[in-house]
Each structure stands twice: as C-alpha cells, then as structure tokens.
C-alpha cells in the first residue's frame, strides 16, 4: 500500500459537517484571494448563525454571507469596500441589531489565531489599551503583563471549525501555491488545523505534485494543513486571485448597487447563487471572456 490519498474533493464532501452556528474563517483580504465559489456554495446550503472571521480585511465575501442571512456574528478588523465605500449588508444588519460584531484590532485576531496555533488559551496585544474595545468584546480583557506589569490586552484563543482559502495552484495532496500575496492564509490554516477544524481550499488550477517538488521553496501552504482541494478556475471571481487575475471592479459595484434595496439583494442572491447549481454554471452565466482578458493581472502600465 504505497498510494497516497488524494484530497481532490467534491464540494459536498468538502463541506460535509458544516452546521448552523459554526465558526467559519475566510482567507484572503479585501478583494483578494477570496474563495467566492466556496462562499456561494455555503450560502446555497442555507446554513445559519455562522460566526464569520477574516483577517485583516473582508468585503464582498462576508457581506454576501450577511446579506444571505447566514451570519450571527462578524469578527473582521476592517469590514468594507475600501475606495468603493462601506459594506452595505453589514451596515444594514448591524443597524437593525440582526448581527453582532466582535470588535477588535488586527493584532487581536492575529494573537487569537496564534494562540490557537500554539495551543495556548489566550494571546496578548498592546492594541486596545486606552480604548473601549474591552467594554465591547467579552473575549478581550485589560490585563497587566506578567513580567513588567505594563497595561496590555489579552484575547481568547480562536479555533475555527472550518477555514476556506483560495490559492492559484494546488496538487492532489493539498500543497498550495500563491502567485501574489498570501496575506494571513498560512496563519488561518495553522490556527484551524491546531484548533481541530477543517481546511478547504479552492484552486484556479490543480497541478502535478512534481510542480511542488521541483521548487519546494515556492510552496506557501503544506499539504499537512489542507483537508480538501477543489479545482475551481476563477474561483475567486469577482475578487482577484492575487497576481493571476485582478478583481472585477464593475462586478463588485453591481453587488453594491443591488444591496441598496431588499428586492435588489434578493434578486442578486438568486441570480448569482441560488439559481446556479455549479461553478461551471456560474462561469457560463456571469463571467464573460472579455472581462477575464481584461482581468489578467498586469504588473505594468503602458
């Protein structure tokens, strides 16, 4: 028996065990490396009351989950659309008291994830000292450093049940390679693995294992940290697969426009998620070839 187990999975197998109320952590940042195909698949499963985590920044990934009614709590240091404005689903749901927000600084989430990765009960940060964050978030406490007595904040370890990531390339054993920046994805995978959760990665392309052994210094995340690999070309669309293709600004603005009204967002979710039974259908229906040609990640300007 010298055959290694392939981790190439169906979406059903990869998302098996997903339940209401679980803690979901999403890789990437802002408009980049967001596993949007997997986000849509989670929405299609009508899961509820998720605690959704992303660091450092989230945009359409978490906002779409909120708009679709899947979320009870948000743990994201920056939740917005940068130069395109605030997050509409997030603003609406918070103003109506429908979701709660785990207020934090980026370094609180990193300390919480690092604590999980190192099997510690809590992490420590300077952020939050002199602010209201410990009054707003029961998982963050004002403490004195054990050695110096200096005012600090402590934050409870955060152990996600499920991590979803998007990488440019992966092999059947779960090794992952990014073309551009990998943001906090390694930390996300480490915290989820050591905390006992499951890690699912979509990749634009499944490549031979030799592609990794030929240049192991270019592997970003080890197969030891990945449970399932799903090949999903343009699986981050309308976000970028950083370094491979750009985010589609027009498609993101379409979402922001739709989110302005109840009917608009319901139609959007139906059109982009509920009525499309597979990734292939999504690509056929919503992604045109010209936009992909324009989305090729250019590193220069003529």
């Amino acid at each position: 028996m010298d055959t290694r187990t392939s981790k190439i999975s169906s979406v059903d197998l990869a998302l098996e065990g997903l339940e209401d109320g679980q803690t979901l952590i999403i890789g990437g940042s802002l408009f980049h490396n967001k596993p949007m195909f997997l986000v849509r698949e989670i929405i299609r499963r009508k899961v509820k009351d998720l605690v959704v985590v992303s660091v450092p920044q989230a945009s359409i990934d978490v906002d779409l989950l909120i708009s679709a009614g899947c979320v009870a709590e948000v743990r994201v240091p920056y939740m917005g659309f940068e130069y395109l404005g605030l997050a509409p689903g997030f603003r609406k749901a918070t103003s109506e008291g429908k979701i709660s927000v785990w207020e934090c600084d980026e370094t609180h989430l990193l300390a919480a994830l690092e604590a999980a990765a190192r099997k510690l009960p809590s992490g420590i940060a300077k952020a939050g000292v002199g602010t209201d964050v410990h009054r707003l978030n029961p998982d963050i406490k004002l403490v004195k450093d054990h050695i110096s007595g200096e005012p600090m904040t402590a934050v409870a370890a955060l152990k996600p049940d499920l991590a979803i990531l998007h990488a440019a390339a992966g092999d059947k054993y779960g090794n992952l390679r990014y073309v551009g920046y990998s943001f906090a994805d390694l930390m996300v995978a480490e915290a989820t693995r050591q905390g006992g959760g499951k890690i699912v990665a979509s990749v634009d392309e499944v490549v031979p294992n030799a592609s990794f052994t030929n240049d192991p210094f270019r592997t970003n995340i080890s197969c030891m940290l990945v449970d399932h690999v799903i090949e999903a070309p343009y699986g981050a669309y309308p976000c970028s697969s950083h370094g491979s293709y750009q985010f589609n600004e027009a498609a993101i603005i379409d979402y922001l426009k739709a989110a302005k009204s109840e009917n608009g967002i319901a139609d959007y979710i139906n059109d982009h998620v509920l009525s499309v039974p597979s990734h292939q259908h999504y690509l056929d229906k919503h992604v045109n070839l010209q936009s992909l040609i324009e989305a090729k990640a250019k590193t220069y300007v003529d």
Binding site: F31, K126, V129, T131
Partner: protein
C-alpha cells in the same frame, strides 16, 4: 483664489501638505479609506525631499520606493497589482508587516475629538448603531507604537469633530498630557489632522488640537462653525500654502499622471 476655483483640488493639496510632514529615511504606511491621498503624499516626498523614505503598504507587505523609476500612475486600491509593482522592492511576510516599526502612518475615522482620539467603531448604540463603521483595522495597534501619525478626515463637520467620541477605537492623547505614558503607549501620538477645510496640529503642552492653517476659500469662522470639538485657535492663522509650480508638476506628471486625486469624489466640492 479659493481652493474650489484654483487649479489645485483638495486631495492634491492634502497630498502636498502631508508630503512635507514626511522625513528622509523614514519608514511609513499609507492607509485609510482614501489611501490614494497618503500614497501620493509618500511618493511625492520620495521624489522631492525624502529619496530614502520607504513605503510599506499597510495591511500587506509591499516595500516600495519610486526614486529613479519610471512614473507609475496611482490606482485606487492599495493592493491593486499595478500599485504593488510601482517600485516595490521587497515583499514582507505577513508577520513582518506587524513587526516592522513605522515612523508614521495615516488614519481616518468617523469621529475625532480634541485630543486626537479616533472612533472607527460606530455612531449610536452599539447594539443597533445609526452608523456602523468599518472597524478598527490595525489602528489601535499602529497608534500605540508608531512614532507619530496623521489623521485625514473626509468631512469637516460638527458630527465628525466632536468633544466626546461615541466609542474610542484608537487612543490619541487620551484626556491630555501624560495619558499615553501612563498606559505604556510608546508611540508619539497624532501629529496632524487634515480636513477639506483646514490643517490642525496639537499643542505640545496641553496636547489639545490647534488650528494650524485654513485652506484657500475657507475662513477661521467657517472652520469653527463646523467643529464640535474644542480646539485652540491662535491669533494668527495662516492660509494653507499651495504647492509651487515645480512641486505641482512633479505631483501631476510623475505621482498622479492620470488625475486620480483631481477626480476623487468631492475633490472640488461638487
């Protein structure tokens, strides 16, 4: 001549004024919701008086310097691949992004008070806020350790400049002198606040916000009418100086050739 009718749009003025605050050899991060302005400020500083200044894109690890390189247009998103390749020489790993000390960074906020404390959290009851902000990002961490930082407010009103914040997301000078030292915040605190109407600094002894200059086309009275925070107004308040022709030429031909700053929403109060 007023700023609206002058050939200099206020985001360009902001980039120019902020660029003059940045020193040679410093390491800093542009950031905030309108990061085009601080990114342009930092690149302009590199191309004028601070050739050894290094820019680190804040929530990612792209270390860049524009000196001696082909002009690269600004793009709106700091992590746009074309922005990253404009002079990036090193990509830091994710933890180094947080380890590397900054001489300065830029922050925005829903509200700022007289001592430069910032609210990015929410306005109104936290359980159902009138306006939920995007959250603290890395502001609390950066404001505790950076040597100094600059605040740019997209609006100058009694709602944004207030005496009491709804929530403190990042501490500036707390309630006055000595507060940062008492809490072990090693960074120096906020140095400058820039709005579409005026530039404000902080009094060295009281740590209270102080009107430094008023932009062309605006008056001290107008600034005070739109400021809910108690600020110091010196007897003489100069008009914010516009960039000279040579600096404006560098800003427009090398830093922002495609006019991203000139065409920002609200750039001309229109």
């Amino acid at each position: 001549m007023s700023i609206e009718s002058s050939p200099v749009a206020w985001p360009e003025l902001a980039a120019y004024v902020l660029s003059k605050e940045l020193g040679d050899g410093e390491i800093g991060s542009p950031g905030g919701a309108r990061s085009e302005i601080p990114l342009a400020a930092a690149r302009l500083a590199q191309l004028t008086h601070a050739p050894n200044l290094m820019i680190i894109t804040s929530a990612a690890g792209f270390v860049a310097n524009s000196v001696g390189k082909a002009p690269a247009p600004l793009f709106h998103s700091t992590m746009d691949y074309r922005n990253i390749y404009a002079g990036t020489e090193t990509v830091l790993n994710f933890m180094s992004v947080f380890y590397t000390p900054r001489d300065w960074f830029f922050a925005g906020g829903l509200q700022v008070d007289s001592f430069g404390n910032l609210n990015m959290t929410a306005i109104g009851d936290i359980k159902a806020p009138k306006l939920k902000g995007p959250g603290g990002a890395g502001l609390s961490y950066a404001s505790s350790v950076a040597r100094r930082y600059f605040i740019y407010m997209q609006q100058h009103s009694k709602l944004s400049f207030v005496n009491k914040l709804d929530y403190v997301t990042a501490m500036g000078y707390g309630s006055g002198p000595g507060d940062r030292e008492a809490l072990g915040l090693v960074g120096g605190g906020p140095a400058l606040v820039f709005s579409p109407m005026a530039a404000m600094d902080f009094c060295a002894t009281t740590k209270r916000m102080r009107l430094r200059s008023v932009h062309p086309g605006h008056t001290v009275e107008e600034v005070l009418d739109n400021t809910g925070a108690e600020i110091i107004v010196p007897e003489e308040v100069p008009t914010t100086a516009l960039p000279d022709a040579e600096t404006l030429e560098i800003l427009r031909s090398r830093v922002d050739p495609s006019g991203v700053l000139r065409n920002l929403k609200g750039a001309r109060n229109d």
